[in-house]
Symmetry: C2
Subunit: 435 residues, 2 copies
């Protein structure tokens, strides 16, 4: 097999066989195929696409490039994944709830990049929380506590890690087959039997429109089916941030509130939906209705919150922070933005809020940048809310950084106002699922 | 300037500024921009194209990456270039003729690759002929003899050399802006004031159809104009080989025959046309008609042949071979193919003849492969010719190689026959030129 011929075929819009894709992926992983050939191939994929069969083969090859966790002794394990958005702290709420309902949760999460926050960063708000568990530690904790939220281990889908690093520096990130196979290869390698996915749509998400989000969702469902996984994919709104808090410790605080029945409506709605889907896909509930009852009970009886406490303690974090959120890292100063006149919120641009959070130090511009756990934005109003003149509509939690002024301006500019009443935004835009 | 942003812009169909293209080319030449970014960029160019302005800028950057010959003391210097085809020995005939007419010819040629022969390989049929002249030697010989045909020197357009090597292994060769800028950057760096180009069209050429050949021609003319060069571009047929001989020493023999008024009609036609265009572009003739008279005289009076003799001698080759072609390398055996029945030749597939020549050892599959100067194919009939049953229609000059059988079958398969009369093919398909 000649690499150039495979690149040429893709360049000309043709398709590669399963064996040809595996040849590329394994050769690349073993450094037998150089970066410059793989990046040309990736660009051809960005511009020419891949068939469903090719995408499934790419995923399988990336899974086969490393180890694959066997979690079958825990019964049916359901993973979750969000494509990332501004203020998305769903995992922090839904993982403990689902675990409290008896479904094992072994979640490998990532760090934040750009305006998209990372679950690992957020969890590190709990002083001492460890995100670098070994596979053995992960398995032991899953056995003992029923829940683990840690970083990706290097031995799972190493081809994906290597390919992603190359795509990141060669302008070849935005290709649905590459995005879908990257996500799914990690889920499959991590031992999931089912996956509940949340594809965010809007200015604060990677997918800006419903059509491309649906295409990504369909591709991931197809990959799952090809690998024997049940997959549910929700398409949810990311034109405005999810919930009210954006920033690491601020989001942890909101997640804890949600586990105490004090969460904002949209976050709670999404958490209940994702949690119920996970219970159904994990065969811990007969149908969505009964699953929702169980999720609601785990919120009402405090068992979800207890599970978060157990998780934090198991991974070395300061569990007192769960019950006393005032112990969480906090910014030294809060700038309160007040409405210049009474009006309805017409829009809260998620991308601007996200970029503002990066300026505040709560997010990274590039990999490896340090992060400030304390800073961020707390919305006091969302689309459809009426704000009286002089009342606060947002708080900016600042730590005296060079970017503070720009961040505050961005938050101010993110709000669009209307004299007339504005309907609330629909949160759930669609659902694409395997049988 | 961030490289990734430039790649992304081209990927998304945008255009780059002159400064941005120069940043990429110079960074790449200095090894500051890695191959994997440049290959992704090249693939984006293959699939998204480049504007005329971008293409001119790319050419200028490649010229600026190295030295540029100053030939102005020789007056107006005209270069020629063919995009390559099967049996194209035009340079061997036209360069001596033009030089004999008093126009200085400093031609840098290449080696053969794939089914496209290289002028340097052909010239090496003259025992001892040197193709590695230094710039100083080139200038001295041009002064003394008025003609030089040698290899590309490394200090001209090094960016083109580096980029071409990368394109060759990343499936990014077939992009008109990249092909055009590669050709033109070398001509400009080599000091040409005008260029006469021959873009081959057909199965035996890189450009398979007239539309893409015309696009390449227009692009090269535009680059020339942007750099102050006069450019004439002929589009010529490459569905069947040019002339009758295909193979190194065989083509040299045919070229010598053409200089002795014994050349095949299509080759002579092309030589006269290209030679006359060169004289006009070099301002050694008022118009094409008077230029053709001079070219014809240089054939008739033997001054063209004398100039070839001088060239061969000046570059250390055995000049006796010019007058006694029997001294040229010859294959040990000739397989003669005879017509199974009387018929007209309907097609002689240039690509099959070219591939056959590679099997015979007359061409290379990959760079650096050794070449057999002796072997090749001599057609005894071309499209439109009538061949009587039992008469030869082709000779295959073999040197007892593993690929001989396949080569002979390819030559046989290259011929299509017709019981009815078939018109001859049109040789010149079009002309695109600057003013």
């Amino acid at each position: 097999m000649r690499v150039v011929e495979l690149i040429e075929r893709k360049r000309d819009g043709g398709t590669l066989s399963v064996a040809e894709i595996d040849f590329l992926v394994q050769g690349f992983t073993k450094d037998e195929i150089p970066d410059y050939q793989m990046s040309a191939f990736a660009m051809a994929v960005v511009l020419r696409g891949m068939s469903a069969k090719e995408t499934a083969a790419l995923t399988a090859s990336m899974v086969a490039s490393g180890e694959r966790l066997d979690l079958s002794r825990f019964g049916r394990v359901v993973d979750k994944h969000s494509t990332g958005g501004v203020g998305d702290k769903t995992t922090l709420v839904v993982a403990p709830l689902v675990a409290a309902c008896g479904a094992p949760v072994a979640k490998m999460s990532g760090r934040g990049l750009g305006f998209s926050g990372g679950t690992l960063d957020k969890l590190e708000s709990f002083a001492g929380y460890r995100v670098d568990l070994t596979t053995a530690q992960l398995l032991a904790q899953l056995e003992r506590v029923g829940i683990v939220v840690t970083g990706q281990t290097a031995d799972l889908a190493p081809a994906d890690g290597k390919l992603y690093a190359l795509r990141d520096v060669t302008g070849t990130v935005p290709a649905i087959p590459l995005i879908a196979s990257s996500i799914m290869s990690k889920k499959i390698a991590a031992g999931a039997h089912a996956v509940v996915l949340d594809v965010k749509v809007g200015s604060g998400a990677f997918m800006k429109d419903r059509a491309s989000a649906a295409a990504l969702a369909r591709t991931m469902v197809a990959i799952g089916v090809a690998h024997g996984l049940a997959v549910t994919c929700e398409l949810t709104d990311m034109e405005q941030p999810l919930g009210l808090a954006v920033g690491n410790a601020l989001e942890v605080q909101e997640a804890i509130a949600a586990l105490r029945r004090e969460g904002p409506a949209d976050l709670v709605r999404l958490v209940r939906l994702a949690g119920a889907e996970m219970l159904v896909r994990g065969r811990r509930a007969r149908d969505l209705a009964s699953a929702l009852v169980r999720i609601d009970r785990a919120i009402a009886d405090g068992s979800g919150l207890a599970k978060l406490r157990e998780l934090v303690a198991a991974q070395g974090g300061d569990e007192r922070m769960v019950d006393e959120p005032s112990r969480l890292p906090a910014a030294p100063r809060i700038e309160v933005l007040r409405a210049p006149r009474t009006a309805y919120v017409a829009a809260v641009a998620a991308d601007r809020i996200g970029i503002a959070s990066v300026h505040l130090g709560a997010g990274r511009e590039k990999k490896g940048d340090p992060i400030d756990l304390r800073t961020g934005i707390v919305l006091r109003a969302k689309v459809g809310d009426r704000v009286e003149r002089g009342e606060p509509y947002a708080e900016v939690h600042v730590a005296e950084r060079a970017g503070d002024r720009e961040a505050i301006d961005l938050v101010r500019g993110a709000f669009r106002w209307s004299a007339a009443r504005v309907p609330r935004r629909r949160l759930v835009l669609g659902r694409i699922a395997s049988r």
